[in-house]
Every structure is written in C-alpha cells, then in structure tokens.
Amino acid sequence: MKKIKIGCGAGFAGDRIDPAIDLAEKCDLDYLVLECLAERTTAMANIEKKIDSSNGYGAFFEERMTKLLPLCKERGFRIVTNIGAANPEAALLKATEIARSLNLDSLKIAAVIGSDVLANLKGKSNQIWENGKTFKELQDNIISADAYLGVNEILPALQEDADVIITGRVADPSLFLAPMVHEFNWKLDDWEILGMGTVLGHLLECSSQVTGGYYADPVYKEVNDLAHVGFPYIEVDEEGTGILGKAPGTGGAITIGTCKEQLLYEIHDPSKYVTPDVIADFSSVSLKELAPNKIEISGGTGKEHTETLKVTLGVNEGFFGEGTISYGGHHAIERAKMAEDILKIRFTEQDIKLKKVRYEVVGLNSLHGSIGENKNHNPYEVMLRVAAISDEVDDVTRLGNEVEALWLHGPGGPGGIRRYTKPIISAKSTLIHRSEIKSTVIYQEV
C-alpha cells in the first residue's frame, strides 16, 4: 500500500529551526510542513505590509528558507507552509531570490493567493461573533480580514508539481491534508477520509506538542531532553491510518498521553471540529502504541463541510500598558498592596483614563486568582503587576510613569521596575460564503 511521510517543521511563528533540519535530514520525508501563523499574526503582518509592500510574510522567513531549500533540493521533499502570512506574493519573490543566491536550480515555487478578503467585506453586514456587531459598524478599525482557505485552494499548486508552496491564512490541518489528498487521490467529498486526515494534521500542527512538549511535569509526567525535542512526522497510508514518529536520537517522547492531549487541544465538541475541508469527528479515534515513540492512529470520521468559511479580522482596539515592581523579604505582600493603593489614588487623581485595569500579585494570585491565593502560603518575594487598556497611548504611558515613580515615592526596598505599552490588535471572527473566495496560484521557476 502506498504510504507518504509528512513532517511538521514549525508549529508557530517563532519556532526552533534546528528540529526541522533534523526531520529533513533523518526522516526521509515526502513533505515538510511549516505552520507559522497564530490568530493575530496576519493582522501584524498586514501592518508591516502597509509600511513596506515587500514585507508582510512570517518571522524568520529568510533563515528558514536558507536552511531548508538546499535540503528540499537534495532530499527531494516538498515544502508546504503558511508563512506567506499577509504577503505570499512577496514571500514567493524572496524565496526565489534566496534559492538563486544559493545556486539552487530547477526548483518550482508557488504562492497561493486568496485569503485576503478585506475588500469583499467592506460595507457588508457580516456579523462578528464576539460582539454581535456587523463588519460595517466596525470597519474603520478593522485592518485585516483573512479567510481560512483549505485543501481546495492548495491542491492546484501540488498538481502543478511545485516543490515549495507558500500560502497565506489556511486552516492548519489543511496544510497536512492537502498532500494526502493529492498523493492518494482522495475525493473532496469523501468526508470520512478527510476527517481521518484532519485528525493526523491536527496532531502534527503544533510541532513538539505531540512529542513531549507542553506536557512535562518532573514528578508525574517525565519527559527527557526537551532542549533537543524532536518534531513529529506521520507516515500515512491511502486508507487514512497514520503512524506517528520523530527523528532518531532526538529528545522528548511520543506516548498515548501526549497524543490524547494534542488531539483535544483547541477543540470544543470533539465530534464536530469544523475546518474548511470537513466537519471532523475525533470521538472515534484509536491510539495504539506500536513501539516506544511510535503510535498508530486510526478512526476518526467526518461530515460534509460548511457552506461558509471562518474569517479572522484584525481590529484596532486601543492600547495596552503594564508595569511591574518587586518586593522581597519581610512584609513583601504588604508592601505590594501598599504600592497598589498608591497607584489607584494616583490614576484617579491624575486623570489617567483606563477603560479596564487589573492589579495582581505575582507569586500569589496572578495566574489562577483565588485558586492560588487560598493556599495559605507566604511567598518570600512577590511582584506587583498592574495592566490596563486605554483608548489613548498617552494614558497607558502615564500608567508606566506612575509605576516608575514608585522607585522614590513607594514602599522601601523595591526591585526591578518594568514598564511596557503596545497597540492592541485583537482577533475577531466572522464568516464568509465559500463562493466569495477567488483563489489563484502564481509560480516562479528557479
């Protein structure tokens, strides 16, 4: 039976590059997928593109391409990646330039265009999930709109034998499913097999989260050598069954436990996981350990995909400001509370307009609120943290000024003041009808 090997060489924008090289060199891959976009990434990338139209693709793009394109040529695997972010066209040109500078030839690079639907939505009443308002009502503050494309839009590039396929926003599992559909000729309405392939893609899409990362607890769940954690690959057959593995000699571990945790990661109803390709059902998945660090995954199914596609909107929502100050030794908590009281008075009397503000004591209640605070413990050192949102950058800047002023005007023995502001670009969601998508693929031959 025909089988192919698909590796995950990146699970987020800033991911390590050396594990991708391990996979590429040691695992005899047919495909290497780099998943590099979070909810907010395309909004930030759109801002970069506005400033400079040759920018707007993902972080560490040049470094990833410089290290992986030669291996792609040498080993014969294909790269599929969403690192195109807001500007797959520019990424295509940059990748071509890099390939030429490395003296690589006969490499075909493709860019999948069509995720950007900002123009489609202008003036329309598509409803925003999080607040029930329409696109039209918020559009002055909406700086980007990217639809989640799927296998359908990636396929032409695979069919045209592109060695490197760079997309903008697509659904993460689709990056893995598209090669499976292409190699095995699966039909785009074979919902069961698309569901099975989506399961495998979902397990891989966060790199080490299935190979021991985001898992370990030194007492209950031991995992070795995370400094060298291996990224996963799947060996999948034409019936949709996959065997999960990682490069020999790498750290981490693939276990039933790591697979269960990653399977349910970012899932709500496990029987209805909606992607552009299918509504996948994870509830019938079977996991079987074949050998240490080798898990077989089967089961999973699916139903017909939805008529609409999810769109992530980048929305300007004001400014964020934060300040921290630390106290150690006797009465650390009391001094932190004293500093907090000073700040509250200052913010009010100095007319610093904060729409939302939060005070917490790191070491006591910042992560888990009363769940942590009620433990009757007395930390030796704590950090007072204040965080706030305002419409004007001036107010959050002045928040930082007041925290800094606690050097002189606050309790004794303050340590390490930090202050930080940033504009808020929040991710909101809406839907667009499939028929609105006009996707094309453009090519460069090196």
Binding site: E130, D217, Y220, L264, V285, R358, S366, I425, S426, A427
Partner: protein, 105 residues
C-alpha cells in the same frame, strides 16, 4: 474515602480559541473515569473557576479515549490580544483545573 487532587490521578492541557478556553482532562487510570465523570461536572468546574470564567462551562465525554473535554466560555473577554492577564492565552489554566479535589475509595 480519601480526598485527592486531580493532579494525582489525571493530566490536562489547555487551549485557546478567541475568548474561550478548552481544557482536556485525562485520567491516568481508566478505572477512575467513572468517578471523575460523577464528581468533576461542568457545574463543579465552573464553581472552581469562579473568578476566572464569566460564561458557561460545557463538558464533553469521550469514553473511547477515556478523556473529558471542558469548554470554558468568557475566560478572556476581547480575546488573547486584549487580555490583561499575565497569561493571556490561559495556558496555565490546565494546572488550575488539576487543583480540584475529589473523593475516591
């Protein structure tokens, strides 16, 4: 009957999507699935997370995987980018769930 913390008998992982957090809960021992099902209800989880979760809590049972999936709505109004939390993604909340106590024989 003894009281145990969930972290002694299960593991968990938190994920975020928009303003919603999901936390899987996976018993180490499949024999404890029933007891966890009885005691770690959606209501009990909502109460445990009283100052963190403003919306509904749903629970999905996946007996085939011997696992549960909790969906906590309204953990970060405005989403990750507009969150004031020191942990804007809420990734540490899995360990918060594991602080819950249940009684077992």
């Amino acid at each position: 009957m003894t009281k145990v913390k969930l972290y002694e008998i299960a593991h968990a992982r938190a994920g975020d999507k928009g303003e919603v957090t999901n936390i899987s809960l996976i018993p180490y021992n499949e024999e404890l699935y029933e007891e966890i099902e009885k005691q770690v209800t959606a209501e009990a989880v909502k109460e445990h997370f009283a100052d963190i979760v403003s919306g509904d809590v749903l629970r999905y049972e996946i007996p085939n995987l011997i696992a549960f999936n909790f969906v906590l709505k309204g953990t970060r109004p405005g989403g990750v980018a507009a969150s004031l939390d020191i942990d804007p993604h809420g990734k540490s909340l899995s360990w918060a769930l594991l602080e819950m106590e249940i009684s077992i024989d």
